[in-house]
Symmetry: C3
């Protein structure tokens, strides 16, 4: 594809400096952008990256107007990163054809399923009895929509995504491959046979309810509720390989990076950001606007917005060994210090 | 569904206090239980949660008999949590129809597979040559049973679950979606081409053998043995997104939370509980009745039953930064303390 | 299968001591090897394991020649572990029939796909339009090859593996079940609706390019590039449940254990080894020949080859509690020590 620079500005706004007829044939990162490319500087502090840039056009914040326009065509935008995001959407709408509508001949659609005529059902998809699929939804190859499950309008299940029986997902959501929504939560009571040592299954009676505009990354799992439901708010963004246990609640627009694990019945606020592989204990609460760093283990409620951390700093192995060995006796250091303080006094 | 309270007690026992004709139409958690609901107090220490409860019936331990019966109908049970578990099973047996028996027309069943006539094979399932499927087993949509694999009676493979060639799973097991049983273990020898720097694949000759009454959560992986087999005991319960490497042995009734990772040839005892995301080194042993906390890295054998822990306590970011910076020089603190102690003496 | 010992030596080399007519019917680990088995001692330091061995043949390094030949037939090899690796390959070539060639009647092959006549396409596989499948490639049951994706010669996609649209994988690769190659990277810009608090999707315009001889473990995810591509070098070996984010680069022959997570745009060198569950920050660089221990959080670039570590040492819970409590005030210990040092001076 090749477009005129002016076409982009006409569609997305911003102030164009330079020749609107410059042809643009791809979007690139600043360090890889040459002739034909449009690129961006996300923040003014990355000003140095402009040096020697040969891109056809750079999207910059107002502070970088002078520096950028000396190099060639420039778009000045209040928030260049947001402009770039919208540009990728505009670009994809022009270059990637949407999946064709209709139900493929090999799809398995059980009796009683309600599928909007404008929805596209891919080959080998499985649609359970009395499932509901909204207008414009896309159900990919080998995807699975369980009995009585509900898929909102314009939501896309990528190949091999799965929405189990009775679970509900809203509109304009994206569910990537391998996602499992609505498997059983992990619930067992001690006290079964084998002298009371076996586990007795607690049937998981709830469902998963997911709002609108939610994105769910590949191979992520969201378990159905034990009693009551697991709830994911509007605009939530989940990366790959995340585990959300039964009866968790996630507030609107919260984002989580890969490998986050949230134990049962935890309640996460809105507008939170959880770094990769952080762990949230069950039955605790995290208020809105909390940022948790990668790998932190959140073992009690966080009732105050802010930035929380907790991982072991890495080091060369020899140094780490010495520090780790000392750490295993840390409380005795404190006691020795206390004793010494008394003695010196 | 609506049942009489007396029907529940007739089926599951316990002492009924109050009117057996009270209609029950759902099971609820204590904080969400209103009219029509049956609920429970798992332990007497949660006595406070009874206050203001408007549930139709509460299941309680004998210590809470008086407090509960003042509020309405009550079931007194020795172990209310176990009673609740059995109630969910009784409830599901009445409300969720079992999958219909028989082999769907779209299932792929290779020549020579042995399938009990009472087993249910879902649409688009794949059954390899000479596989054996026991009585009452359920093989869901897009599930996969490899060549010569064995599925025990009344075991259920949910949609998209996979049991690779020659692997065996016992009776009454549940395998959730996305589970991969029997992929190759991670085995490579150094010394291949590229000046001996390439990896040479070690073919994984073993299988996975899984006992009876095992539950396996969504997207969990259990690798086949390198030489010899990977063994999962009876009654083992695995949460989602767990990794069990080749030749691991897991004892009966051990339970593991999400993201647990067990490296090759580790031997885990019976009746252990492994918290979420804890890591077990390869080739070590953990005896029976060991409880490992979330995120602990078990780097050597545990030969004594007990409770083991090891994660970095989280804090606000500024405090963590200061502690982490100090931690990187911890062993020098110890040396300075020692020097000071000598000097003071 | 039963083979003559001499057949093995004829095929794989090494010095045979003893009777070449000894029948071998399986490969076993040293502690499980009895009559009929061939086994190995990987390194001379494990010499003790020879004691009482009743295997039909042991593969040993030259240092163990005398000790081994007293027990029975022996193969002396420079690198017994590498010899064992090659033996497993030789064995499998004789015992596991390769999948039959041809396209199954139930496979879905979209118009325009180019499939080499010698490739085997399993039942219910999905091949998108204009995809290319090389000679001898195997596409398993329920696997998915997206539109315009490329699969190199002799590469195998196990059942339920997925290569998304336009992504490319080289020759002789193995992709295990549940792998997702080419899902969208996790990219969202703040600033959408809901008072600028919603996330705006950044379309992921790049692909994944994977070299030759790459192995990818079950349920691992490799995301497509945002702009520019995600690159996996030749001979890379990935275990199960790994997350590789958009625009990551992994150098040749690097190996990673389960649960490794690499954030966006990180650049990992060649011949690195990353231990299970270690985390690599985004946009950092790790040079060649770096070994990272399990669970280390690599928060800044590593520019020097070596061995790096960083996890909290586990302990019995009571001891850990005391140490963790002290750790939360560690920097104050340092300050108290400093004050005391001044005072003592």
């Amino acid at each position: 594809m090749s477009v005129r620079l002016a076409d982009i500005v006409d569609a997305l706004g911003g102030e164009l400096i330079g020749d609107g007829d410059v042809p643009i044939d791809h979007i690139a990162a600043i360090d890889a952008a040459g002739p034909g490319a449009i690129t961006f500087i996300a923040q003014a502090k990355f000003r140095d990256r402009l040096a020697g840039c040969t891109a056809a056009c750079v999207i910059v914040a107002p502070e970088l107007r002078e520096a950028a326009e000396q190099l060639g065509a420039t778009i000045v935008a209040t928030d260049p990163y947001l402009y770039y995001a919208k540009l990728t959407q505009w670009w994809v709408a022009r270059t990637r054809p949407p999946p064709p509508p209709g139900i493929a001949p090999t799809a398995v659609v059980e009796e009683g399923a309600h599928i909007d005529p404008s929805a596209a059902v891919g080959p080998l998809a499985f649609i359970g009895a009395r499932a509901q699929i909204g207008a414009g939804a896309v159900i990919g190859a080998h995807a699975h929509v369980g009995a009585q499950a509900v898929v909102g309008a314009h939501t896309r299940l990528h190949p091999r995504a799965m929405l189990a029986d009775a679970c509900m997902i809203g509109e304009r959501c994206t569910v990537h491959s391998g996602v499992v929504i609505g498997a059983d939560g992990f619930g067992f009571a001690p006290g079964g046979p084998d002298n009371g040592n076996a586990w007795v299954k607690i049937e998981q009676l709830g469902i998963v309810r997911i709002g609108n505009d939610v994105d769910i990354g590949a191979n992520t799992c969201i378990d159905r509720g034990a009693i009551g439901d697991t709830l994911i708010g509007n605009g939530v963004k989940l990366d790959n390989l995340i585990q959300i246990a039964h009866n968790v609640q996630v507030g609107d627009h919260t984002a989580m990076a890969a490998f986050v694990g949230i134990a049962g019945s935890a309640k996460i606020g809105a507008h939170c950001m959880l770094g990769g592989a952080c762990r949230i204990y069950g039955h605790i609460q995290i208020v809105d606007h909390v940022f948790v760093d990668t790998c932190a283990v959140i073992s009690r409620s966080i009732l105050k917005p802010g930035h929380y951390s907790g991982y072991f700093p890495f080091d060369d192995n020899a140094t780490w060994e010495k520090n780790a060995a000392t750490l295993r006796h840390l409380y005795t250091l404190r006691e020795r210090l206390r004793a010494l303080e008394k003695r010196v006094k």
